[in-house]
């Protein structure tokens, strides 16, 4: 049995983390959102509509796939993959977007804004806005627009306006700041469809609850398949939405190790990675208190990852709490190990993963050979189509006519 999650408290705290660190103008709208969420959860018609959309629009349940060739190649752990990459729009992000768009409609909001890093959340937001006929504005760092061009085009094709953010590092953090500035300005007409388990309460809680279907399904699927729980679960952690989505169902299962994999980037030097637990310390950014990459004066550090979706200075507050309690372990995988993991999965299983998810795969690959008789479960949060340009840049040998 999985235990019921008792976090966060009424103020949105996971231990000391989370909370509501926002300008007063946003407090009443956050309270309104929290109220709408609690009411919706009690409303049978809301739950039924969401369930129907998840099944028939998004494609749930997603398969639990046993990666036999990969397991054989590594010669250790038996590896299962939760195929969130097979969802409509290509990543887990659609789960949360469907939930929040129904909330936005309930609250009578006509305009939706979102931030996006890799573009997966932006595409999922643009998709649900098209589905419900709502205006959609997506903020995206200029640097991310360059490296995720395909997703920019997809958003535009879906009818969204993509606003290029040129402040700061021109990545996810700056896109969140611009989205918050838009929200504080247009708060009566607009719902901010935040895409990760980040930001001010109630977002980390509601994003988790809209994604917990991943872990609930995976837990039932693996019990049915092999009659036991996995030994270790791997998920990448940017803000941490896919990770909290798969972890939640297993938090009460003390024997199941939970491993979150952050972006190790180019090196361990501040500014060259996004490993908040090894390189950061608790602080406040964009509404929440959690582990933050910052300099000695409390200014937020620049981050780097080959994967735009993990390139963020703060980790979701529930992960900070799981970390401090020792319930989950957080490690990092470098750019190059993630790239290599993607190639390995492509060539052993015929699955090209998103660069974000490749970080989780990299850590599983590293541990698998020494984990004979163990069962691994990897959350494959997204597919790699959007990363084709980056894979091409990094595997130039495959881009020649005589390539093998």
């Amino acid at each position: 049995m999985s235990t019921t999650i008792k976090t966060p408290d009424a103020g949105g705290h996971f231990g000391p983390y989370g909370g509501r660190y926002v300008p007063e103008t946003l407090m009443a709208p956050l309270e309104e959102l929290e109220r709408a969420f609690h009411e919706a959860q009690q409303d049978e018609s809301f739950r039924a509509e969401l369930k129907d959309l998840l099944a028939n629009f998004a494609g749930r349940p997603t398969p639990l796939y046993e990666a036999k060739r990969l397991s054989q190649t590594l010669g250790g752990a038996r590896i299962f993959i939760k195929r969130e990459d097979l969802l409509h729009t290509g990543a887990h992000k659609i789960n949360n977007c469907l939930g929040q768009i129904l909330l936005a409609r309930r609250m009578g909001k006509k305009r939706i804004i979102a931030e996006t890093g890799a573009g997966q959340h932006g595409v999922a937001t643009a998709t649900v806005c098209a589905l419900f006929g709502l205006e959609c504005v997506v903020y995206m760092g200029e640097e991310d627009m360059r490296r995720q061009r395909l997703n920019v085009f997809r958003m535009r094709m879906l009818g969204a306006k993509v606003v290029s953010v040129t402040s700061g590092s021109r990545t996810l953090k700056d896109a969140v700041s611009e989205a918050m500035r838009d929200w504080v300005t247009n708060v009566s007409s607009t719902h901010y469809l935040l895409g990760s388990a980040l930001g001010s309460h109630p977002y980390p809680m509601l994003v988790r609850d809209f994604h917990r279907c991943t872990g609930d399904e995976a837990r039932a699927q693996i019990l049915e398949r092999i009659g036991r729980l996995p030994d270790t679960i791997f998920a990448c952690v940017g803000g941490g939405s896919n990770a909290i989505g798969i972890f939640t169902a297993f938090i009460g299962d003390a024997g199941v190790k939970l491993v979150g994999v952050e972006a190790g980037g180019r090196s361990g030097k501040l500014g060259e990675h996004a490993a908040r637990f090894s390189g950061g310390s608790p602080g406040v950014l964009q509404g929440a208190y959690s582990y933050l990459l910052q300099d000695e004066d409390g200014q937020v550090s620049l981050t780097h990852s080959v994967s735009a979706g993990l390139d963020y200075a703060l980790v979701g507050p529930e992960h900070a709490w799981l970390h401090d309690q020792g319930r989950a372990e957080y490690v990092s995988a470098t750019d190059s190990s993630a790239l290599n993991a993607a190639k390995t999965l492509a060539r052993t299983e015929g699955i090209i993963p998103a660069l974000e998810s490749s970080h989780a795969i990299a850590e599983a690959l590293r541990r698998a050979p020494a984990a004979k008789d163990e069962v691994f479960l990897i959350n494959l949060s997204g597919r790699g189509d959007k990363d084709t340009d980056i894979y091409r840049e990094n595997f130039p040998e495959l881009d020649q006519d005589n390539a093998e």
Binding site: S177, V184, S188, Q299
Partner: protein
Amino acid sequence: MPSSERIARCFEACKQAGRPALVAYLTAGDPHPDRTVELALAMERGGADLLELGVPFSDPIADGPVIQHASDRALHAGTTVARVLEIAREIRAHSSMPIILFSYMNPLLRYGFDRLCTDARAAGVDGCLFTDLSVEEADATVAAMKKHGLDTVFLAAPTSTERRLKLVAEYSTGFVYVVSRTGVTGEQATVAGGVHELVDQLKSLTSLPLAVGFGISRREHVEAIGGYADGVVVGSAFMRVVEKYGSAPDLAAQLESFTRELSGRS
């Protein structure tokens, strides 16, 4: 330690003089930390009654482009929390104008909040306002500030419910900062409709002075708001002057002249 009461006395003196207090925001360290003292004193000569000394932060979510750029310049020039406190101390050596620190939480948490309160009070700072601190998260910070005799200024917003306005009034000392409109900081052509009603609503909840800010940039705004509020906060309009004359030798004179225009004092 009791509050310095400099803020209370300042609003009282303005009231006696029949005019709103001009609360002037200045990003510490823009264009360079060595110049902030001179600029603050120039603003005081021009008629600023109370100084909001901005602590620059890398990710100012409540600020529009003008203060974002001012923060970037200040950080680029090497401004730290410790340097801001030195600046406050130097201003205090030359002025009895109330000083409040205007900041996002993270740089101060990193500095150590109790240490900040001790050092701020020793530097002659009278209070603090944190743009991203809701009253819900404020118990520990308010307790620390009270212990050190610092006033705790909170924001009231057009979106605040009656319940929230009561909380804001309850947590505030010195004055309440009334946000005139939804949005980020930045100059506007006109004062937002509805702010007069918000001020009236707050008057029924608190006897603290009420200062209106966000979007205020002209003498006519100061006069209009002065008709119903105790103070007017101007920020981006000052930082626009700093941006324009940053490298010019007469920056302080320009800032003084613009402050005089806003204050209407000769």
